[in-house]
Amino acid sequence: MSLQEKLVSSFMVYENQGNVDLDSNIHGIRCEAISNFEKQGFPDKKDEEWKYTPLKSVLKYDYSVFPNSETTVEFKDIKKYLLHEIDSYKVVFIDGVYSSFLSETTHDGYDICLMSAAFKKPKYKIVLDNYFNKIANKKNSVTNLNTAFSKEGTYINIPKHAVLSKPIQILNFYTGSEKEILLQPRNLIVVGENSYVQIFERHQSLTDNVVLTNSVTEIFAGKRAIVDFYKVQNDKRSASLIDNTYVQQKKSSVVSVNTFSFGGKLTRNNLEFYHEGEHITSNLNSITIIEDKQHVDNHTLVNHKFENCESHELYKGIYDDAATGVFNGKVIVNKEAQKTNAYQQNDNILVGDKASINAKPQLEIFADDVKCSHGCTVGQMDENALFYMQSRGIPKKEAKALLLFAFGNDVVEKIKIPALKTRIIKLIAEKLKVDFGFEM
């Protein structure tokens, strides 16, 4: 039985766990999603959007889809993966199951809690009816698969005029409770008018057992809302991630999604922005640093539909050994989206002789009064700059690392949580295998 068949046949059993109201909207949405997935199947190489990211190597396993009941994990085991040095809200999942022991949720003024609770309790029904699965792409088969199995994840609902004084951390850990597991977290984030929130998300495996995470997050930003979202991945070589994040923005909102991909076996970051008003700003920043045969695919879409909006996209990649990367950045400027300012830059350095990147900027511009620019570079290390540093007594290895650090620096500078910035700098140093010996 193929994985697709197994998933489709597991759906009914999975859906029947707990007391699902068979007349509810949610049940209807899940049923529609599984039937879409059944028709679409997993994407293969014939699918243009997946041409350079074959899923064969991650789909060959006999994944378990039923998470075990709560596995005990001590705080000390996960401490290093979260921003423990600052006060924050935390929603922690162990093997796909919520850990109340490790989490810090709230209902005080706003809701930072669980999707499973939101699905069950009537008071959340109106929010779910308005937002759940509204912008998730129905043409995306893996998103449909996630929707069909959407039982757990993080639910964030911030009303109007709320500035959160501390960030929210969404943390997914995998303990290796099964030999091979498929995890499908589903997050819904609704941020009201004039509100401000910072979110940090991480998927982390704690063992060498195989894990595939197929995550979907929907973010809705109200008028003038500001959302800073940070995705950090530095996972085991047995862990793969397919992340689909969908963002809808209302007038004058600013949403920034910063993606740091430092490893895992296969990583696909799919990021889609939809505008619903004027004067919107969308920021997409990313650093990828990978080695060996690791693979990272960054797929982005910004769909400009209204006047006077901006999008800024800055993607940097460093590929060592035989690592492979994909950047596919699509920007659509519809006919009515005059005075759009869309900027896209994708710079890559191939350190390894066998490393490669498939970069594809895709601009579809139908309006005439717009400023759109895009640039894409693929290069090797600047030999002259290396010589400069070596001539000052800095050995080649450190010199290379400093240069690569400098290359990614403009993305690092965009991090607005100081503790996270320090963490990312340390992670970059670790990835580049040097100790800079100073805080930058």
Partner: protein
């Protein structure tokens, strides 16, 4: 201190240096002048160990030891310093952190502990004052957005911090206005001692008004075609480089 023997070097199949002989003793200042394309910067790069160039023949000996097999950083640890004509910009790494990394790398190679922060700061303060540097440059990313003059001043600041035995200044005067030129020259003169040596590579004699050389060599077509005292620089300035082409 430095002895260059019959040095032939080039890039790929092109020979640029065609047999250079040069002896430099501690305490001396040598100027190397010559028209564009004569091989001046190549010579500087080859001494510092730039791997883009291949040494085809001859030897470079520093303190009785051949440096040909040494990497640029190893040569730096032995006391070679090259001030670049076009210093490189490194965003995200402050001048202070860069120089700290460089100094501690050298100390590590010498088997020493990192320089204590207090001593480092004191030294940075002294040397930046010597070059009349605005301290805010020290906390800015290395050379990023610096003017040509500021970059050159920063090069000499790094030289002051690293205290090299042999400093090679490659076209340090280009891009400097007269005030900056005086400050840079003053810095170099103050750093000069009987134990170190300086090679000044320049197209014009302007800088030599302020850093007076003991010897002047004229490089043309990859060879030293004439050597003399400081008066040779004046002669060159008067007669122009066409004169050396016919020597």
């Amino acid at each position: 201190m430095l002895e260059i023997k019959n040095l032939h070097a080039g890039i790929e199949d092109k020979e640029i240096l065609r047999g250079i002989d040069l002896k430099i003793k501690a305490g001396e200042i040598h100027a190397i002048m010559g028209p564009n394309g004569s091989g001046k910067s190549t010579l500087a790069s080859v001494i510092a160990g730039n791997e883009t160039y291949e040494v085809l023949e001859g030897d470079i000996v520093l303190d009785e030891e051949s440096v040909l097999e040494m990497s640029p950083d190893e040569r730096a640890h032995k006391g070679v310093f090259l001030s670049f004509q076009y210093p490189v910009e490194i965003p995200g790494v402050t001048t202070t952190n860069f120089i700290k990394t460089a100094i501690n790398a050298k100390r590590k190679a010498q088997g020493l502990e990192d320089l204590p922060a207090k001593d480092m700061l004191k030294m940075i303060r002294e040397k930046s004052d010597l070059l009349e540097m605005d301290r805010k440059f020290l906390s800015r990313s290395l050379n990023e957005g610096f003017s040509g003059g500021e970059k050159k001043r920063n090069e000499i600041f790094q030289m002051a911090m690293l205290e090299p035995k042999l400093a090679i200044l490659d076209e340090t005067d280009s891009g400097l206005d007269i005030d900056a030129l005086k400050i840079v020259a003053n810095g170099v003169n103050k750093l000069k001692s009987k134990d170190n040596a300086v090679i000044i590579i320049t197209h014009y004699q302007r800088l030599l008004e302020y850093i007076v050389p003991d010897f002047v060599h004229v490089l043309f077509n990859g060879k030293i075609v004439k050597s003399g005292g400081k008066e040779l620089a004046h002669e060159l300035e008067e007669k122009g480089y066409d004169w050396v082409k016919n020597l």
